[in-house]
C-alpha cells in the first residue's frame, strides 16, 4: 500500500506540566485523507496530543509538523494564522457564541481571515445546505438541538477548507440519534478526502469513522492499527 503524503508528523514528542508528564515520546504520522481515531483512558494524553497538533499548546521536546510546517518554530500569532488556514476543530461542547445566530457563528471563521461578511455568509450557507441545517441559519444556539449545534460547529470548522479536521469527543455530548448523524457526517467528509483526527472514548465512533486507531496509555502510543478491515 502506498503511504499517503503526511499531513501530521510527530517526532518523539514530550509534554510535561511541571513534574507531571502528559506525553512521553510520541511519534505519529497521519497521511492526507486519512481518518485516525485516538483512544485511551482519561488522562492518557489524548487531548494533549490534539492540542499540540492544533497548535493550541507547545511540546516540551520533540517536533510537531502539520502540513509541512514546524509548529514549534512559530510564535503565537503564527500559530493563530496556521490554525486559521490549516485546522478545523470540533469540540465536545460545540463552543458556539451564544450571542450570534448559527450562520454568523460559522461565518466567523472566514471573517477572521478578512473575508467580507456577505461572502463568508454565502460560504456558510453553502455548508449549512450540505449539512442539512440551512433552515436553522437564523436560529441562535440556545434554540438548536445538540446535533444541530454540532453541525454548526462542523460548518465553522470547514469554513476555511482546512487540511486537517480535529474532533475532540464530537459525539460525547449528544444523544444517540444526533451522535449517529454526526458520525455519518464525519464519514462523508472523510470520503471526500478530508483528513480527520478524532479523539474519543467511543469505540463505535472510532470503528465507524476512522481508518486507523491509535491507542494511548500513560502518555505513550500503545498501538496503532489499521481498521480498514473492520466491518
Amino acid at each position: 500500500m502506498n503511504s499517503p503524503r503526511p499531513v501530521v508528523r510527530l517526532g518523539d514528542v514530550h509534554k510535561e506540566y511541571g513534574a507531571a508528564g502528559a506525553l512521553d515520546g510520541v511519534s505519529l504520522l497521519i497521511g492526507a485523507g486519512e481518518a485516525v481515531a485516538v483512544m485511551g483512558p482519561s488522562g492518557c494524553g489524548k487531548s494533549t496530543l490534539l492540542n499540540l497538533i492544533a497548535g493550541l499548546d507547545r511540546p516540551t521536546r520533540g517536533t510537531v509538523e502539520v502540513g509541512g510546517q514546524d509548529l514549534g518554530a512559530m510564535n503565537e500569532t503564527g500559530l493563530a494564522l496556521f490554525r486559521r488556514r490549516h485546522i478545523g476543530m470540533i469540540f465536545q461542547f460545540f463552543n458556539l457564541i451564544e450571542d450570534l445566530p448559527a450562520l454568523d457563528n460559522a461565518a466567523l471563521a472566514a471573517q477572521l481571515t478578512g473575508t467580507p461578511a456577505r461572502q463568508a455568509r454565502d460560504r456558510a450557507m453553502e455548508l449549512f445546505e450540505e449539512l442539512g441545517i440551512a433552515g436553522r441559519a437564523d436560529v441562535y444556539p440556545a434554540a438548536l438541538s445538540g446535533g444541530e449545534r454540532q453541525r454548526v460547529a462542523v460548518a465553522r470548522a470547514l469554513m476555511n477548507r482546512p487540511a486537517l479536521l480535529l474532533a475532540d469527543e464530537p459525539t460525547g455530548a449528544l444523544d444517540s440519534r444526533s451522535g449517529e448523524q454526526v458520525m455519518d457526517l464525519l464519514i462523508d467528509l472523510n470520503q471526500i478526502g478530508q483528513t480527520l483526527l478524532i479523539v474519543t472514548h467511543d469505540p463505535e465512533l472510532a470503528g465507524r469513522c476512522a481508518g486507523r486507531l491509535v491507542e494511548m496509555r500513560d502518555g505513550r502510543v500503545l498501538s496503532a492499527q489499521s481498521l480498514e478491515s473492520t466491518p
Binding site: T48, L56, E76, L81, Q92, E98, D99, L100, Q111, L112
Partner: protein, 765 residues
Amino acid sequence: MTAPAQRPLTGAGAVWRAARAAVRRRRVQTVVLGVVVFCSTVAVVVALGLLEGVSAPFDRAFEAQRGAHVVASYDAEKVTAARLAARVPGVEAAAGPFAQATVTIPDTFEHLPPGPLTLVGRDGPGGPVDRVELWSGRWAARPGEIVLDRPPGSHFAGLLGLRFAVREGPAFTVVGLASSVSGSAASWVTPGQAAALKPSAYQMLYRLSEVRRGTAGLPGDGLLAARSYLDVKREAGRSVSLYLPFLACFGVLGLIVAVLIVVNVVSGAVVAGLRHIGMLKALGFTPNQVVAVYLTMVLIPALAGGAAGTLAGGLALRPLLDGVGGGAFSAGAGPWVYAATLAGMPAVVVLAALPPALRAHRLNAVLAIGAGGASRRGRGLRVQRLLSGARLPRSVSMGLGLPFARPGRSALTMAAVVLGSATVTLAAGLTGTMTAYGQAAQRVGHIHTVVHAGQARQGETPPRHGDAEIEALLRALPGTLYVTADAWIDLNLTGQPQPIMGRFLRGDSATLGETLVAGRWLNGPGEAVATSAFLDKRGLALGDRISLSLGSGRAGATIVGVTMDGSADLIHAGWQTLTTLAPAQRATQYEVRLAPGTDVESYNAAVSKADPGLRPRTKSRTDETAVAVISFASLLTLLLGTVAALGVLNTVVLDTRERRRDLGMLKSIGMTPRQVTVMMVTSMAALGAAGGLLGLPIGIAAHRVVVPMMAGAAGVLLPESMLAVWRVPMLAVLAPAGVVIAVLGAYVPARSASRLTIAAVLHNE
C-alpha cells in the same frame, strides 16, 4: 410538633473565611477596588481639607484671640470715654475705649507704604476681647515705640527695629509685630502716646452674646464706623474661597465615579460568583451570611484603600495648603477630615455594594449552581447581528457588539467614563481660563522688568538720580519701549473709615496691559479706575465720583473704568491726582516694557550699571494663583481619570472572565492575539467614545458654572474672553478623552485576555 429552628451551619468565622477566600480568588477586582477607593479618598481628603481651610483657621484664631464681633470707632468729641465704658446689654465682653489717632507716613518704606497709619493706644496685647498675637518683638512700653499689625511670617520680620518719622512730628521705632484676627488696628502704641497725638476717636471692641451683623444695641452716639467680624472673615477667606467651587465640583465627581465603579465591581463579583453563591448556600450559609460574605469581600479593599488614601491625602494636603493663600492654611486639616474619610469611604463602598449583595441574598441556590459562571444570553442580539454584517474587521465589529451583551455593566462603565471625560474637560477649561487669567494678572508681554529705588534705611544703596531723572534714564536706555512710574500710597476715601491703596501712575500707563472689564483706562486728570471688588465693597458704580484725602491734601476723581483685579481696596489714578494730594511724592517703582528682541537680563544689567541704586527685577510670567489652581485641577484630574480607567479595566477583566470560553474558541479558529486585544479594547473604546462625547458638554457646562463662582468668591470679574476658552482645536483634543481613558483602562486586561491558554478553557468545560 414544630420542626427545630435550623441553626446556621457556620458563624462569623466562616463568613470571614469565605470572604477572605473570595478576596484571594478575585485579586484583580480587589486591587481595582482598593485603588479606586484610594484615589477617591485622596481627592476627598484634599477637597475636604481645603474646604475646612477656608473657615477653620480663621475660626480657630478668632476663638483663640477672643476676636471682636464688632470693632467700632466713636467720635471723641461726641461721646465720652465713661459713656463708652458703661455696660451694654447683649454684649458678652467689651474692651476699650482705646484712644485712636491717625498719623501720616510721608516716605516710602519697604512693606510700610506712605500714607495714613491708624494707631490705637493699648497697654498690652491681652484683654477680654481681641487678644492680639504678638509674634515678634515686644509690646510698646514707652513713647516712641510702636507695634505694627502684620501677618506672622519672616516676610515682615525685617520691619522690627525700623525707625520712621510721621508728618505729625514724632518718630517711632518698631519694637513688635503682632496680628489681630479682628483687624482692629494697623498699629498700637502706649495709651500715653496715643493721647499725646490728639486722638479724634475712641475704639471699642465688642464680643456679642448673640452674633449678628450691624450695630443694633451698641452705643449709637458719635459712632463713626463699625466693622463686623463677618466682613473680616470674608476678607480673610477671599484668597482661598477661589478654590472652593472647583474643589467641591471635583470632590463630587470623584465620589460619584467611585460609587459607580464600586457598584460595577460588586455586581460583577455577584454575577461572576453565581456558582460560588450557590455553593455557599448549599453548604448552609444563610442568605444574610452570604450578604455578609460579599460585603466583607468589598470592605477589605475598601478599608485598605481608604486608610492608605487618607494617609496619602493628608501628606498631599499639607504642601498644597502651605502653597496656597500665602500660608493662610498652615494650620492644616482638622481631625474630622481624616475621621470622616476613614469611616465615610468604606461606608460609601458598603452602601454601593448592598444592592448587588442583596441580589445574592435572593438568589436560588439550585439555579445559581446550575448557572455557574456562564454569562446570561440573548442581550443586544439585534445589534450584534447588524455588526456581524458590517464592513469592519471582524475583531472590531465583535468588540463593538460586546457592550450590548451586558447593558447594565456597560452603562455603569460608560457613566464612569462620562464623568472622567467631564473632569478632563473641566480641568482643560479651567487651565485655559487660569492661564489667560495668570497672563493678564502678570501682564505678560506688557511689562518685562520692574525697577525699584534702593532704600538707604534698609541697607541698600540709594539711587544717584531723582525720581524724574530715573524715569528719563530708563527711557534713554537701549531697548526701552515704554516706562510707567508707579507710587503705591495708603490714603483715605472720604466718608470711609478704612484706608485704601492708591496706585498713582505716570508716563505710559496705557501700555501696562491692565485688563478692563468695564469702562475705559485713565485718560486725564480727575479720573480713577477701580477694581470690581472695590466698587462692590463700597456700593459704588462706574461713573461715580469719589473724594480722596492724604494728610491735608484733597482730590476728587470720577471712576471711569473697572479692572479685573480682585483687590477690594485698590484704585488706580493719574499722577496729577497724587500731586494734588501730596506734591512731593516720589514713584515707588518703574515698570518697563522692552522692545521686541531685547534681552531682559542684559537690560537689567544695563540699568544697574547706569545707577547702582536701581534694583531691576524681571517681571514674573507666572501667577501663583493660576499655577495653584492648575496644579490642583491636574492632580484631581489625574486621580479621577485613573479611577475611571480602573473602572474600565475592571469591566474588561469581568468580560474576559465571563467570555473565557468564547475567547478560547475564537483563538482556536484563528483569532490572533492582536485581534483579541483589538476586540477587547474596541469594546471599551466604543463606550469611551460615547462617554467622551457625553462628558464634553457636561465638562463645558461645569466650567461655565464653576469658573464664575470661583471668580465671584475671589472678588474677580473675569472678562468674557477668559470664559470663552472652547475653541475647535481644544474641543478636537478633548473629544477623544473618553476613548483615551477607555483604551488606557482596557489595554492591559485585553493583552492578558489575548494570552489566555485556550486548551484548558475549551476542553475542561
